[in-house]
């Protein structure tokens, strides 16, 4: 497989064309707006936490295929999970992205997220893949604060 094909896996292109959980929804405790200042990619993201579970993640994102698909995969992975488990998935994805292509992803944890393994070899694109994940972590932390 060429590096380009490793970057643009079919799974990524599928999520890009048909993003899951897209759009902004109620209820939510926190809404954040994150941007990638180098390229202008933007995401507005809401998190609803109830009974220790990530009940909903909704978002409105503008950006490239990698950042859009990443938001879709992230929402798939964390919605319905206990916050602690979702944070662990976040950590696992972060490790994969910062691994310069040397980290072997765990499909049991990351599911469709393993398709982003090829992105880690393109330093300029890692920020694209992480944009919505960072926004989610920020919003989740704020949601927990409003509840405590």
């Amino acid at each position: 497989m060429s590096e380009l094909d490793a970057l643009y896996q079919e799974i990524i292109l599928d999520h890009y064309k048909n993003p899951h959980h897209a759009g902004l929804r109620d209820p939510f405790e926190a809404e954040v707006h994150h941007v990638n200042p180098t390229c202008g990619d933007e995401v507005t993201l809401r998190v609803h936490v109830a009974d220790g579970l990530v009940s909903d993640v909704s978002y409105d994102a503008v950006g490239c295929s990698i950042s859009q698909a990443s938001a879709s995969v992230m929402a798939d992975l964390v919605i319905g999970k206990p916050v602690d488990e979702a944070m662990a998935i976040h950590e696992s994805f972060l490790t994969l992205m910062q691994g310069k292509g040397q980290v072997e992803p765990d499909e049991d944890v990351l599911e469709d997220g393993i398709a982003f393994a090829g992105v880690a070899k393109f330093p300029a694109r890692v920020k694209c893949a992480l944009l919505s994940w960072m926004a989610w972590k920020d919003a989740t932390a704020q949601s927990l604060e409003t509840q405590s």
Partner: protein, 421 residues
């Protein structure tokens, strides 16, 4: 093709980086020159020769190397003055880059002096500016209580001058605008804007970062009422090194402005209570300057002078016209900015329906083609055209028609890669 530089293949051999390959052995096709230009061997050699044989601090070392270094640094100032057709070589100030030059002007206008900007005053910019010609003026007006206003853009990417007389008024203290847009490619009417600004007593600051590489500039030949008061550009876009920029300013204005940075070499006498300052240009050059970079810039503008800026401009026109024709064949591609190649510079921003600019740039990179994707530090201009980002190809004096062919073919491939047909 008419208008191309003669002996283009010989010129290309001056640029060693054009020999290298990328992406697994493909020849480099460098179409990102509006971002930074490549460097000819003569510039690299001038800098290496200085470091190997003449390195010393300038204007303070009383020995042979110090004299040689000072002479080379000041000779670089003479070369830049000639490049701009500056009325006086003392009006050429070396800065770190164009951003610092713009901050020097905007920053010192906030301070006490005959030109101090204050409440009730207005600063006028345009919607097509690079962030470096927006943010310093926002800082100035926020700090002083002055008002920031701007020219909007027409749908074909020109400045909308319809309300020039209500925008530029007796309240206007500064009119700042780009000569050539880094995103739209638009060439702005410097003489017309300057004449109007001078009628109301405003000073005119022109960002020539994109103009200096590709248009002949002759300040001394301009009518005084149409000559800007300040013109800035950066070294690395005119085949020179990074870390060096230029501020040309009318001597009278520079004399009225307070110093920007304080330190060594910008002084006349220092006492503990207060200091007096050196005359221009040194008044604005505190500390040890980027000596090697200035010498590299001198070699760079000499190189452009040998080619002739009129010939470089004609080359850019020919390549830009050819590129606009080629881009027009791609389905779903929209160029942002003027479509008449004689009214624009060599940076062409575009969007392709269905593919994000990042993804375009990534596929092009896999074919050895370097372009820029994003907002090109011109977010307001993108917002004006309802786009978040764009892909930008930018040619220069070493760009060949066959490189444009490769770009067009790679864009077709990009569309098929993302299954748009």
């Amino acid at each position: 093709m008419k208008g191309l530089l003669p002996e283009l293949e010989v010129i290309r051999k001056d640029f060693p980086i054009l020999e290298r390959t990328v992406s697994g052995g493909l020849p480099l096709i460098y179409l990102d020159s509006a971002n930074t230009s490549q460097k000819p061997q003569v510039v690299i050699d001038a800098m290496v020769d200085h470091l190997e044989h003449h390195n010393a601090n300038i204007a303070r070392a009383m020995h042979t190397l110090g004299a040689e270094s000072t002479e080379a640094f000041e000779a670089a100032r003479d070369k830049v003055a000639a490049f701009l057709g500056a009325p006086s070589r003392d009006e050429v100030i070396f800065t770190k880059n164009a951003s610092e030059a713009l901050n020097l002007i905007a920053g010192t206008l906030a301070w006490k002096g005959p030109r101090q900007v204050g409440e009730g005053d207005e600063v006028v910019i345009t919607e097509m500016e690079h962030h470096s010609n927006i943010v310093p003026w926002q800082l100035l007006t926020e700090r002083t209580g002055a008002t920031l206003r701007w020219f909007g853009l027409t749908d074909d990417g020109q400045l909308d001058l319809a309300d020039i007389d209500t925008l530029v008024t007796e309240r206007t203290k500064v009119v700042a605008f780009t000569w050539v847009s880094n995103m739209l490619g638009t060439i702005n009417p410097v003489a017309e804007l300057t004449r109007r600004a001078h009628e109301v007593g405003a000073i005119v600051v022109v960002d020539a970062s994109q103009a200096a590489p590709q248009l002949p500039i002759d300040l001394a030949a301009m009518a005084p009422e149409e000559r800007p008061d300040v013109v800035v550009f950066t070294g690395h876009k005119v085949v020179g090194p990074t870390g060096i920029g230029v501020l040309w300013g009318r001597a009278g204005l520079l004399g009225e402005l307070p110093p920007f940075l304080g330190g060594g070499e910008m002084i006349e006498t220092v006492r503990m209570e207060r200091s007096t300052y050196a005359p221009i240009p040194h008044k604005f050059e505190a500390g040890t300057p980027p000596i090697t970079e200035a010498i590299g810039l001198g070699a760079a503008v000499d190189y452009l002078g040998h080619l002739g800026l009129a010939a470089v401009r004609d080359h850019e026109h020919a390549i830009t016209a050819y590129a606009l024709d080629g881009l027009a064949t791609i389905p779903g591609l929209r160029v942002l900015g003027p479509l008449d190649p004689t009214r624009r510079g060599g940076a062409i921003s575009f969007e392709i329906d269905g593919v994000h600019p990042h993804d375009v740039a990534q596929v092009l990179d896999s074919r050895g083609i370097a372009v820029r994707a994003g907002h090109h530090c011109a977010r307001p201009a993108h917002a004006r055209f309802g786009v978040q980002s764009s892909t930008r190809m930018s040619s220069y004096l070493y760009t060949t028609p066959s490189e444009i062919d490769a770009l067009v073919e790679a864009l077709e491939y990009t569309r098929s890669y993302f299954k748009l047909d």
